[in-house]
Point group: C2
Chain length 484, copies 2
């Protein structure tokens, strides 16, 4: 029935014939955050020539604004402090937070190699960490190490030094347009826009870059991609800010999906309930809300002045509760709470994100709260504190919690921000991207936030950097080991 | 730098040149469940010629084994019973259950047109419903209508009669291999395997079917596709059964994703906690567990004999709790509970899914439960019932709840089964499939369980048929209205 010139081809995604490549290397890394730089370093050390492509004008991606906290289990630092921990315990913490959606084999890699990559970052990269071990929410024991200056830039800087030492460079303003595959479906390179400028979409020109061995996708999350995140969670419109940089968008992830990569957990998007709408991005407010209000204070509905939730519930519960109320809620703590916490809130006050009031009535007036209702709420809460039983929400009061009676009172408006996208392309333990039929896409690896499966429904704080380093190393090594 | 013969093409998915088509119609519908037959009928009534393709040997898809319950708000039946309801209330119930992940505009269509499609099914299709209005979990008021014989086959039969009346037929054993698009990316038809036999994968031959106006994808969910569902929720291995037919697989959904359709909510997979591992599929056990045990009885851990959860928690909580325990839990009720419920459990006993015991000790022995612990659990529970306060799990006791003291005792093993996949391809309110850049894919519509967005994180019982009928009609009409 069919004429012989009928062309039928079931291969997913675009195919190309490229006769002349502009540049060639064994391994092409897309993205220059924690995962990308790690992958590049490892691939280079395994003998591969490497090209690193970054769409922005500076390297470091969104990683550079992270707080630089990395989780690791069974470390010398823990031993020194007498903390008993193990990869098994970290594994079970991550799976519990992930509500069982995590890929067990990926979590096992991350937890199992967590100490190895932490030591690698110290010994090989030269990263300095603060002399302390912190415990973040959801971790059973203290296992979080803060990079010097409590900033991801500390790690990125050391990685960039190593990149240069190894004779590599980060090519900036190189925007991935699409992957290029051969007739057998193997990824052979990329088409990029060279000279990309996010302020001028017409800038730049096409460039074809060949990867003799493999392409590694390390382009991060899509927290700032409003259209893409709204498709997964329609609540996350432009009315919701993000703690991410504006360029944390989905275009490279979408190109991978067009190739037939299996999408995993895309609708699992983490919001930070500690964020304030009165500043952009992550800001300074979380230092007050997350470390003082949630522990020793209350969060109230702006309309009726009543508490809305157990303030120590997890990020998802807090964020969903505030979103359901439909407008920013008010976090409140008194002077004693601030003192108990041991934290300094000067920067929060300077920036005007946290406000100080001599009387509760002033606070109510400023935020438009009904004062009588707020007063009743505080009195009721203070009774719960005295009786050590929160009859309304079952909040487990931390040891130092005191009734809120010491002025001045401090207030912050709270409205969640998109913080991390747990979903992305499916990978296996070798870091290979997996297609819709559960086979690896030849010549394509991925690591970090662009992948899905490690964190399941909920990423624990400080586990992202561990993930980036572990799978950055794995994908870099395996990409370099591909046959030519 | 590049030679002129470089081929660059950014269009997603496979493209084809087909010179000779085997068959041609205005509209090609893939699938013959509730959504597909509805779409075909509406497209035909709008003047289009229609081909309906079904991969199995008989029409009806998974719909035919559903319980035939359809939700509708603001109906004459409700008015007769004095039930106050509205599309707004149904909308808010669906959004609440969906945890806000639902697409509001799609839910509004479903709730707003729910009564219209119910009446259409009665007046136009001739479907008979039982003379009662039921209330299922998550619905604020009774708004669920059970098709005669409490079976989806009642609706499918009437749809098939209408299909024949309209001069159409369902072409069976036609398996979608891929979509065919023209050089502008418009879907122009499909390549199918004609003569498909799931028991013999080599059977059948290629057939090219052209859709002059559009293809409508109505291929249902992927609850029985182990590889695809495990990629979204790694817990759902072959150890978890499904209430779906074995052919509820993802191949057509995957073809749509290869075209660049946006995947929505794929990791939101609903499990039925009322299912028993001692029978296949949906079975008869849920009549005992869902309508008797959860209301008036208890569910215990098989190892320690302790209760595991508020037995009236939602499907997700119950299922996750049992999965976390890692082996089937035991649902227990006494004679009085069965009597209070008003249900007959003879079939459950005949099939051996529910077991009867004269003494609690016998029950413990049969299921390998520690008797002393179980006895203590029942005594504690009975005290909670007497005091009308469940101190452990806060279960809200239904009015008729009595202490469990009346033998015989009945037991059932409980292990969740995959029941519904909330995720699928993104559609807009016109039923068009949406691509990764948020544009409609020309010539492609979809309706029913293959789409994502209507139910969000959790589908309420009886809302699926409403969805299928509402978006079946919408997609059928809009496909027929496409320009030639």
């Amino acid at each position: 029935m069919l004429s012989t010139d009928t062309v039928v081809d079931n291969m997913e995604g675009p195919k190309y014939q490229v006769e002349n490549w502009d540049e060639i290397a064994d391994v092409v890394v897309i993205g220059s955050g924690f995962a990308g730089l790690t992958a590049a370093i490892e691939a280079r050390n395994a003998g591969a020539s490497v090209i690193i492509l970054e769409k922005m004008k500076a390297p470091g991606g969104n990683s550079i604004i992270s707080d630089g906290g990395i989780a690791a289990a069974g470390t010398p630092m823990q031993e020194k402090e007498g903390i008993k921990d193990s990869p098994e315990l970290m594994y079970s913490d991550m799976l519990k937070a992930g509500l069982g959606l995590n890929y067990p084999e990926l979590v096992r890699e991350v937890a199992g190699k967590s100490n190895e990559v932490l030591q690698w970052s110290i010994d090989y990269l030269g990263v300095k960490y603060l002399d302390r071990v912190d415990q973040f929410g959801g971790h059973s024991v203290p296992r979080c190490y803060a990079a010097f200056k409590v900033s991801g830039s500390t790690i990125i800087k050391q990685q960039l030094i190593k990149v240069r030492e190894l004779g590599m460079e980060v090519k900036t303003q190189m925007y991935l347009q699409t992957f290029i595959r051969d007739s057998e479906g193997r990824v052979r390179g990329v088409l990029v826009c060279d000279g990309y400028d996010h302020k001028n979409k017409d800038s730049g020109s096409d460039k074809y870059i060949k990867a003799r061995k493999a392409v590694i996708l390390t382009t991060g999350g899509f927290g700032a991609d409003i259209a893409f995140r709204v498709a997964q969670d329609p609540r996350l419109t432009e009315k919701i800010d993000t703690t991410n940089k504006r360029f944390a968008t989905a275009e490279a992830l979408k190109e991978a999906l067009k190739l037939g990569a299996t999408p995993v957990h895309l609708s699992q998007i983490q919001l930070g309930p500690w964020a304030s709408p009165d500043e952009k991005g992550f800001g300074v407010g979380p230092a007050f809300s997350d470390y003082i209000v949630f522990l020793y204070g209350i969060v109230v509905d702006p309309i009726n002045g009543k508490r809305i939730v157990n303030e120590l519930a997890d990020r998802k519960i807090l964020s969903d509760t505030i979103l359901n109320i439909g407008q920013p809620c008010i976090g409140i703590a008194d002077k004693k709470a601030v003192e108990q916490s041991g934290w300094n809130i000067d920067r929060c006050l300077e920036k005007g994100v946290v406000k100080e009031f001599n009387q509760l009535e002033e606070l109510a007036s400023y935020y438009g709260l009904p004062y009588d209702a707020l007063k009743a709420t505080v009195e009721k809460y203070n009774n719960y504190v005295k009786n050590k039983l929160d009859e309304e929400f079952g909040k487990p009061f931390p040891p130092k919690t005191a009734p809120m009676t010491y002025p001045p009172y401090y207030g912050i408006r709270l409205w969640p921000k998109v913080h991390h996208t747990m979903g992305g392309v499916q990978i296996n333990v070798r870091g290979q991207v997996i297609d819709l039929n559960q086979n690896p896409i030849k010549g394509l690896y991925a690591a970090g936030e662009v992948t899905g499966g490690v964190h399941g429904a909920c990423r624990l704080g400080s586990c992202a950097i561990t993930d980036c380093l572990v799978f950055g190393r794995i994908s870099g090594r395996n990409a370099a080991a591909e046959e030519l």
